[in-house]
């Protein structure tokens, strides 16, 4: 079977939750951008894979086609928590890999509201604040504190993740924010759920991202090889059983499993990766994933952030887009937006935030509950 390539990709500038257009119009914007990026038309697409979470029963993919061209192609709408976008992309990849189609479109789109996510309950009395917290900032704070208990990771080290990612986003015009947040500002911001302050929580935004995936044969036929980026690995896992699962969602084991499979599929190791866009839904989460993705040994994540190894210019820059913390996190779009960032670097088109000489990039998302999606992309031209 031939390889699968990304030939066109785009994302909207992420904007404050609730300020974007309707979900189909927002999704259409990125879809048209991805088509324009490779000079193709909607008539060239053989299938559409659409990721959206909050209107999962609302036929969002078809509504996007109603905006940009109703060609009668199959549409698959997917929902997989915060891994929704990566899932849509992967379904498109799988169909092309299997030889079903040569050219497909994957779109991720989300319109958000402001405020805390999670903590919902049903029946009887509200459980929030009675049996601990199910809000996302607290859940990921607890995951971070598990790292603290093992390795002594400090509040300051977690906070440094936000300093780094907010700095990166000052170089990304498509990020929601372009502001520097020094360490004292991050640590002194409103405490949401210790050790996560407000500046250590991802931003709810409206946004969309889309990609055109193509078979090797078709890339050659259309002469699109110059800016095409090869998908070297596409992996998805769910959470294997862990003893504290019932009360403490485990984002580590499913990530480790996915990373192992992705490196095997790509035939490379963590040391070969030049940049990473990972799921920094909270500053505490990013620290965990340095180890989960194998870019450092267990217990060395704190050192990675202290030494700047994961900052732009460091050994393996992480979240140079600004990450979910500063670029923003439109749930269903995030997985494809991460791929947009990596593709942009591999094409050498990332401007001031360009990771020089990047050949391999890795994207990672977690949908709590749980789903982990990892993609490894390679510059080929």
């Amino acid at each position: 079977m031939g390889d699968v390539y990304v030939v066109g990709i785009d994302m909207t500038k992420f904007q404050k939750a609730g300020t974007g257009p309707a979900v189909d119009v927002l999704g259409a914007k990125a879809a048209l951008g991805a088509l324009d990026d490779c000079g193709l038309k909607i008539q060239d697409m053989q299938a559409l894979y659409c990721g959206n979470l909050y209107q999962a029963s609302g036929m969002v993919g078809q509504r996007i086609l109603q905006q940009i061209g109703q060609t009668g192609i199959p549409v698959v709408n997917v929902a997989n928590a915060c891994a929704t976008g990566a899932t849509a992309f992967r379904e498109g990849w799988a169909a092309v890999k299997a030889g079903l189609y040569d050219t497909v479109l994957a779109v991720g789109v989300e319109k958000m509201s402001a405020g805390l996510l999670g903590g919902g309950g049903s029946g009887g009395i509200s459980k929030e604040g009675l049996f601990g917290s199910s809000t996302m900032p607290a859940v990921f704070a607890e995951a971070g504190m598990e790292h603290s208990r093992k390795y002594g990771t400090t509040f300051e080290q977690f906070a440094k993740v936000s300093v780094k990612n907010h700095h990166h986003s000052t170089l990304n015009p498509k990020a929601m924010y372009q502001i520097e947040t020094p360490l004292d500002m991050v640590m002194g911001a409103e405490m949401i759920a210790y050790p996560n302050t407000k500046l250590m929580c991802s931003v709810n935004v409206d946004g969309s991202a889309a990609a055109v995936l193509m078979s090797e044969k078709k890339v050659k036929e259309l002469g699109l090889g110059k800016r095409a980026v090869k998908v070297r690995a596409s992996v998805m896992t769910s959470d294997p059983w862990q003893e504290r699962d019932l009360v403490m969602p485990d984002v580590n084991t499913c990530t480790r499993l996915a990373a192992k499979q992705a490196y095997e599929m790509a035939g490379i190791g963590a040391d070969d990766i030049d940049l990473i866009e990972l799921h920094d839904c909270f500053a505490t989460a990013e620290i965990l994933h340095y180890e989960n993705l194998g870019i450092c040994k267990d217990g060395e994540a704190g050192k990675m952030i202290d030494t700047g190894a994961v900052a732009l210019g460091g050994k393996v820059p992480v979240n140079v887009s600004g990450g979910l913390l500063s670029k923003g996190h439109p749930l269903g779009a995030t997985g494809i937006a991460n791929i947009f960032e990596v593709v942009t670097h591999l094409r050498g088109e990332a401007g001031k935030r360009q990771v020089e000489g990047a050949r391999f990039g890795l994207t990672h998302v977690i949908g709590l509950g749980s789903a982990c999606g990892i993609h490894i992309l390679e510059k080929v031209a």
């Binding site: 509200s126 601990g132 917290s133 900032p137 504190m145 509040f155 949401i192 759920a193 003893e243 009360v247």
Partner: protein, 139 residues
């Protein structure tokens, strides 16, 4: 309504007639995994009909926590959201009370005890609920 008997706030909290409240887990006889609440298949090993109810212990240790400062309207903050490993198996999440919500005061693995109290919340019909909490325990 008369002083009706409180209802359990979660289904794995049992309130036996004339007995002390307790938490009920289900243990897999095949692999030893412990779950909260009733189930028939083990999600660790896949064994069927190997799960039996067992009373969970009331002594445990603090595994991880967060101090919650922002919650939903009406929820009193700050409070400690704690993950506790129980002696004899099982892990619970709940509020750790009767200790200052200060990271300097909270130690990983500090001994805690499961205590049962009124939830302090009523449903729309006015029913009261029994809940569990964690308190520091002398080792």
């Amino acid at each position: 309504m008369s002083a009706a008997k409180p209802l359990p706030a979660v289904d794995y909290l049992k309130l036996p007639e004339g007995g002390e409240p307790y938490l009920e887990g289900y243990k897999c006889k095949a692999c030893g995994a412990v779950f909260l609440g009733e189930r028939t298949v083990c999600s660790k090993c896949g064994a069927r009909d190997a799960l039996a109810p067992q009373k969970l212990g009331t002594k445990g240790k603090l595994y991880a926590y967060s101090i919650v400062h922002r919650s939903f309207p009406g929820v009193e903050v700050p409070y400690i959201s704690a993950i506790v490993d129980l002696e004899g198996g099982g892990t619970l999440k709940g509020n750790l009370i009767n200790i200052e919500a200060d990271p300097a005061k909270l130690k990983f693995d500090m001994p805690v005890e499961v205590v049962f109290k009124d939830a302090g919340r009523k449903d729309r019909e006015g029913n009261s609920y029994m809940a569990y909490f964690f308190e520091p325990r002398r080792a």
